[in-house]
């Protein structure tokens, strides 16, 4: 235009895709965040890694998982012939004698699957292990991304089946907690420190399980008209309140289940004597 109102020429910048795609604002750094954005994923990664190491050791140990009346949550229910006998305990020899390795492996698949496909844990490990993305507005290092659209990640959609399984497991652990109101000689009406550990754990396990997004969907979220289902609406509201704390519950129950197991380990290995209250 004669008025000299055309945009001036400026040098073009090298482009590499993502935030550095050609048409976008020419800014070289992959992000400009000045806060400690890496802290959260680092802590998450450390926490999850610690749990993985601990639980792998304990799951394969195949030892020190029962100290009457306590059974480690990692080994309950115990479904192979090589299980320690636990009176009234969650033993059922479904797998027979061919199962040679630790019986924990059979049952841990379910809580593991539940947590692996959990909407919170997905966020946690996608961010901290996959760096997809490492933090908000921080460029991810991958060239290609298809999310949960294809195998294997499309399997995340089966979360609700693991939720059903997790309900059963939580039921068994509740039973274990009831059994913990006995003494070493299986007499009812007693309590020890372990009973308290089990109680805390089972409350957190239930809270985490119930606060699951799939559960929220199943109890009421799928409905179009809450007004026609007042009971399910109340249930949905209740689950919704827990669901808002899903992350906190995920961590709390992860720690509590490890602690419950560790407590049984200490008692079973003789390193610690379960203090009895009555």
């Amino acid at each position: 235009m004669a008025t000299g109102t055309e945009p001036p020429d400026t040098d073009t910048h090298a482009s590499r895709g993502g935030v550095r795609s050609p048409a976008r604002a020419a800014i070289t750094p992959p992000h400009l965040r000045t806060d400690r954005w890496w802290l959260a994923p680092a802590v998450t990664a450390a926490g999850l890694l610690a749990f993985v190491v601990y639980s792998t050791w304990r799951a394969f140990a195949n030892a020190h998982y029962y100290a009457a009346p306590y059974v480690s949550p990692f080994y309950s229910p115990c479904l192979a012939e090589n299980c320690r006998t636990m009176r009234m305990g969650p033993n059922a020899d479904l797998f027979g004698s061919w199962w040679a390795i630790s019986p924990a492996i059979i049952i841990l698949i379910f809580p593991l699957g539940f947590r692996l496909t959990c909407y919170y844990y997905r966020k946690a490990y996608y961010r901290s292990f996959w760096a997809s993305p490492p933090a908000c507005a921080v460029a991810e290092p991958h060239g290609k991304y298809t999310g949960e659209t294809r195998f294997p990640l499309i399997l995340q959609n089966i979360h609700r089946y693991f939720f059903y399984a997790a309900l059963l497991v939580a039921g068994v652990l509740t039973y274990d907690t009831v059994l913990s109101f006995r003494d070493q000689h299986y007499r009812w009406g007693h309590m020890g420190l372990g009973t308290v550990v089990f109680l805390v754990n089972i409350v957190l396990i239930w809270a985490y399980t119930i606060s699951c997004h799939s559960c929220r969907h199943i109890v009421g979220g799928k409905l179009k008209h809450f007004s026609k289902h007042p009971v399910r609406y109340r249930a949905w509201q209740f689950v919704g309140r827990l669901n808002a704390r899903h992350m906190q519950l995920a961590w709390a129950s992860l720690v509590s289940v490890a602690l419950a197991d560790f407590y049984v380990y200490l008692v079973a290995s003789g390193a610690f004597d379960d203090p009895r209250f009555f």
């Binding site: 235009m1 008025t3 000299g4 109102t5 055309e6 945009p7 001036p8």
Partner: protein, 645 residues
């Protein structure tokens, strides 16, 4: 001169707020190919700021409500200066317009029995405002926006093109309405993003550009409110009506300075918030004017009972029409009973539990928390009047929304005058947008269809003149010494204009000050011709502002001239030197016209100005509508001869 891109449409709607979008929907549904032009992005119009609700006598909450009561409230609020036929149409049609929104997907708050909930508001006798929390305007805009998208989806299914019958030109600004003799021929516009000019040829142009608040320093209005539509109409030869009536919303934020003017919704008072001065007194009880004495509570006890039992108690005086409350706050501050930052206290923290405040007024809670660091559940807000709305506007025909004297030009929404008289009731704005937006779209489409084989041509000379006018700010810099002095910074000019209007033609007006204002406006007009900008045409805000200045100056002159002329106080016009309402003035409309023979293209004499003012006597109110009022009430407003006609 460069060749400017031209397109043909049937109806062009300028503005994409509530009125513009409603007009576009109507025009498109009636078969007209419709283009919408808006200064901002689609869906960002100032309508999103409306908080309280849409007034419509649906009688969902109080069964006694009906259109007659709504009409009565509107006329009382406007101090009987309203164009009564508009007020009637508005009251009659508002419920249908609200219900229609539901069929387009709007989700209002509900009553227990599943209908649209309605809330109390200043000046409305019954709970009447359909609302969604305190973000009703957003719901309105989003619903209309989504309706437009759904029409485009229909067109896409039929024609393969989303924009074949309805297109939104976003971030484009119209600087001229083009004409063929007397008739409208189209609009001249520029695209903000590229700075390119284009012409949309159309026999019908609907102006729906909103208000003029950006001419004032303290305002709740967004940057777009530069009076573009008012100025476009003036320049196209249409008259403006009653521009002296500018509503100052009583409760704007006053602290910190950067948020001064941002609105504090009237629902705060509708839901129980009270106004107190620095002595802790609920001062509104001292300011109930005679015409409203019977309708408002005299004691705090009675006022407080009204929230629970409105049938047997009178409403609290905090809910008087906005002009009354704004004036009351002004006097309290003037007499030294104001808050630390020069306002008064608006308190909900002692009136309801924190949790109720957060639920009923979520965006107010956030606004104060985030912008002022004030927790309104724990401490009172500081508020003061802020320029909010202009009742005056383009003079239109009540039924068709056609601008007087310019065939093919229509106007709806805030830019149109008459509907609200001298003062608008809260909630009547959103319903106004819908009722008259629809009517404007309807008649614009009809008018355009009538000219299907006789489309008014647009000659190149007009287009070239408009382009030259729009490019002027760039040459102001280039010229060695442009007539009369160095280039002016448009931002500085704008600030001076805002200060002038705020100080001299603000909420309380005096003859000498307004004369001074006119003088200052004359000077600014001369300087604005030298407004220069740096850089190029691509998204250049300095340039945009330089172009908007023309409009703000025109409109400001209208406001100042009309305010000087009207020697009484009524609604949104308060004269310190003529403090009372004068029944003789009720029938008088002040009409502004452009006098400048060059149509604003050349410099004008700063003393004489660009606007001429005439008085017009309004037609008498239809007897059946008058019969809705008690005689004793009419006596307060109507002159003797009107009563016995």
């Amino acid at each position: 001169m460069s060749v400017v891109d031209r397109q043909e449409w049937d109806v062009v709607v300028v503005g994409a707020g509530g009125a513009g979008l409603r007009a576009a929907i109507e025009a498109r549904e009636r078969g007209a190919r419709t283009a919408v032009i808006c200064k901002s992005l689609f869906g960002k119009a100032h309508t999103v700021m409306a908080e309280g609700g849409i007034a419509a006598a649906m009688a969902n909450v109080n069964e006694h409500d009906n259109w007659q009561v709504h009409f009565r409230d509107t006329m009382r609020g406007g101090k009987f200066l309203n164009q009564w036929r508009m007020a009637e149409l508005h009251a009659r049609e508002a419920p249908e317009r609200v219900w229609e929104l539901e069929t387009w997907g709007a989700l209002f708050d509900r009553t227990k029995d599943g209908r649209i909930s309605q809330r109390n508001f200043g000046g409305h006798e019954y709970p009447r405002l359909a609302h969604v929390g305190d973000r009703t305007g957003l719901e309105l805009i989003r619903t209309l926006q989504q309706k437009i998208v759904s029409l485009q989806q229909e067109d896409h299914r039929e024609t393969g093109d989303y924009e074949s019958r309805l297109k939104v030109f976003q971030e484009c600004t119209v600087t001229r309405v083009l004409k063929d003799g007397e008739r409208v021929g189209g609009v001249f516009a520029y695209d903000r993003e590229t700075g390119r000019f284009f012409v949309l040829e159309a026999p019908s142009v609907v102006i729906a550009t909103g208000g003029i608040g950006k001419s004032f320093k303290v305002t709740s209005n967004s940057w777009e409110y530069t009076g573009d539509g008012h100025a476009l109409a003036l320049l196209a030869g249409a008259p403006l009506l009653n521009m002296e009536f500018v509503q100052f919303h009583p409760t704007g934020m006053i602290w910190p300075p950067s948020v001064k003017g941002i609105l504090v919704t009237e629902s705060v008072r509708g839901d129980g918030g009270v106004l107190r001065n620095s002595e802790g007194r609920r001062f509104m009880f001292d300011y109930v004017p005679d015409v409203f004495k019977e309708k408002y509570a005299e004691t705090e006890d009675e006022a407080d009972r009204w929230y629970e039992d409105p049938d047997h108690n009178r409403r609290p005086p905090e809910l008087l029409p906005r002009d009354e409350v704004a004036r009351a706050i002004n006097s309290e501050v003037k007499e030294g009973r104001g808050s630390p930052h020069g306002g008064v206290f608006l308190d909900v923290s002692t009136r309801m539990p924190a949790e109720v405040v957060r639920r009923r007024l979520p965006s107010m809670y956030h606004q104060f928390k985030e912008l002022a660091d004030v927790d309104i559940t724990a401490e009172p807000m500081e508020v003061g009047p802020t320029c909010h709305y202009v009742m005056g506007g383009i003079a239109v025909d009540s039924d068709t929304a056609a601008a007087r004297g310019v065939p093919g030009l229509f106007a709806a929404g805030e830019v149109a005058g008459g509907m609200h008289g001298s003062n608008r009731l809260g909630g009547n704005s959103l319903s106004d947008l819908l009722v008259f937006g629809r009517r404007a779209g309807w008649h614009a489409a009809e008018y355009a269809q009538g000219l299907a084989y006789d489309r008014p041509p647009v000659d190149d000379a007009q287009v070239d003149a408009a382009a030259a006018e729009a490019l002027r700010p760039f040459s102001a810099e280039a010229e060695e010494q442009p007539a009369g002095g160095p280039p002016e910074n448009p931002y500085t000019l704008h600030q001076e204009l805002q200060q002038t209007m705020n100080d001299l033609v603000g909420i309380i007006r005096r003859e000498a000050e307004m004369e001074q204002a006119l003088k200052k406006l004359g000077e600014l007009r001369v300087r604005a011709r030298r407004a220069g900008v740096e850089g190029h045409r691509q998204f250049n805000p300095g340039w945009h502002l330089a172009l908007d200045l023309r409009n703000m100056l025109l409109v400001s002159e209208c406001v100042a001239r009309a305010a000087l002329e009207r020697t009484e106080s009524r609604g949104g016009h308060t004269r310190e030197d003529h403090p009372s309402m004068d029944r003789v003035w009720r029938r008088i409309n002040l009409v502004c016209r452009l006098t400048d023979p060059t149509g604003g293209l050349a410099a004008t004499d700063p003393v004489r100005g660009q606007i001429s003012l005439t008085r017009q006597t309004t037609e008498p109110i239809r007897p059946d509508l008058l019969a809705l009022f008690e005689k004793e009430e009419l006596v307060k407003y109507l002159a003797e001869e009107e009563l016995y006609e």
